[in-house]
Symmetry: C2
Amino acid sequence: MTKSMQTTEDSIKVFKALADPIRLEIIRYLAQLDHAVSCGEISRVMQISKTSGSYHFKILQEAGLIIVHKVAREKYVTLDRSTFDRYLTHFWQNL
Amino acid sequence: MTKSMQTTEDSIKVFKALADPIRLEIIRYLAQLDHAVSCGEISRVMQISKTSGSYHFKILQEAGLIIVHKVAREKYVTLDRSTFDRYLTHFWQNL
DNA sequence: GATATAGTTCAAATAATTTTGAACCATTTA
DNA sequence: TAAATGGTTCAAAATTATTTGAACTATATC
């Protein structure tokens, strides 16, 4: 499992994903719970429509900020902390 | 000099400011040089119009990512690393 | 004073992001 | 099988972000 080089586009995706109040709230919620949560539960807590939820989860996933695994009908989501570490915590190292 | 609490809006401003290829390039340029540079020089290096430069510097400044000081006719710019530290390096602590 | 340089501001044009609702697919439960 | 639940997809509408050029302010130089 070698980590491939990050491009500027990857960074942009990550920062764009973080640059939205709903997605930041989702991240806070997941960070505090620290276990997989279904998309439906999160949408209910955030009080957003499922369509909007679906959109935001896609953005977060494509940025690599969340890991998604499907269990039957529903999708469960957790933070991928390695991505946060790479782009945020170790910002200067990877710039 | 007490650091005041950061709001969600502050975070959004920072991440939005980082979520653009030109601004990310400006940040890389400043990080590598590590001394104050004029807006004009940066605009020339980035090959953007001065209007566009002015716009991007405003975004970066309002996010607190750069410190600007005017010397006569021109404006010099440096990175404000404390902001990067607060929002990126120490992301989890301040979430 | 005239001209050049550094940068800002404004409004219009363009481009990108986000929200919305309806229709849809897959899985579960009655 | 029918109905409910969890989620996606699509296109239209609404909102935001970015670029552009012209006009402008302020300082420097001839």
